[in-house]
Symmetry: C2
Subunit: 210 residues, 2 copies
Amino acid sequence: MAATPNSSAETTGDRPPGLRDRARRAVRSEVAAVATRLFLERGFAQTTVDQIAAEAGLSRASFFRYFATKEDAVLGHLEGYGQQLRHALSERPRQEPVWEALRHAFDVVLEVISQPEALNIGRMMNETPSLKARHIEKWLAWQELLVPEIAERLTESAAHSPDPRPRALAAAALACLDAALEAWVDSEGTEDLRGLFTEAMAAVSAPVHA
Amino acid sequence: MAATPNSSAETTGDRPPGLRDRARRAVRSEVAAVATRLFLERGFAQTTVDQIAAEAGLSRASFFRYFATKEDAVLGHLEGYGQQLRHALSERPRQEPVWEALRHAFDVVLEVISQPEALNIGRMMNETPSLKARHIEKWLAWQELLVPEIAERLTESAAHSPDPRPRALAAAALACLDAALEAWVDSEGTEDLRGLFTEAMAAVSAPVHA
DNA sequence: TCACTCTTGAGACTGAGTCTTATATTCAAG
DNA sequence: CTTGAATATAAGACTCAGTCTCAAGAGTGA
């Protein structure tokens, strides 16, 4: 079985974290760093996979063994946060209002995102549709992870088979994150990301009645 | 000036709708029909642009003069609805609560989407990431059109420069549309799309407090 | 040492999207 | 009706992302 992109062969926990695995992780993050640097220097479209591979010292073929797509070299690290997010939500108290539970759960993500380098990546994403699209795909994966968790918190109120509400809530929360992130990038990082997010969440759950 | 994909050279209204223009529109929609049929028959990935071009009786190069991407052959018609949506929102009474205004504005879109053929396209989209991604890009364009319109309805409450709320509201409404559409496709079209959308909108603006 | 497995590099191959060039086709004057 | 500018087209070269196959390393366990 050959390793597929985004797998670390740790489907079930081998007691020792696996030496093979650590190596893979290390290479992955190193290549990602190189790629991101090149993208920021020359632009995303202007940087070819061959250039990244050459600069990082591996073959083109190997690059695609570490990343499914060119975009994933920048966004690959988002993969894992979906599970963390889901877990954070599942740990919120059962009787907490869904929207509030979601707001708290997102703390995990906000923590990671508000690194100053995210500013550059954010700007690049705004100029690069394919990157933005791939970014959203990642978030859609998060969304799907959140849906069952949210659904459980709604069961009291008659959920007929295809209930649009859990997905709507998950997607709306993600929408708030997106809006907050956008505003944060626009402000050059001067505003507080967490505050912007809270503001967005509040505006959506109780829209100002003009 | 050569015609670019998605332009009909009617940037300003030439009084006669333009014979050239009508021809272009006609070809465009005919090619789109052929493409959609082939996609549904053989699958999106299994259908090449060459096949579409051959079947539709034009050259590969010409295909890309009508559609910027292969995905646009299915999604191109969404282009125009953004403006309609924005217009519909702008016509809602000034004192109406934003969220309610949005809900009504989306009627325009719901009308168009709830065609039975949308079911097949919806199913195909769920199996085709690139298509889904492109679809979301279209919606992002709608979102950006709605933002200024929503911002105007919030001005009373101190909008400091980078205000995340308008975008959050626009994106959240789109999220509801997405969730409703998903549920609708899951139900094989048996459920009422408009009803599902209303339900989603209600759940988000006043989440059930478990 | 002998398998066995996993990783790598090399390179062929498909297909999307861009671009250039040359040939119609349309349309507006004269 | 003809000339000339603008535009639409086909043809095909070209770049690059992503897939696939194959053969050669490199680590591990007997």
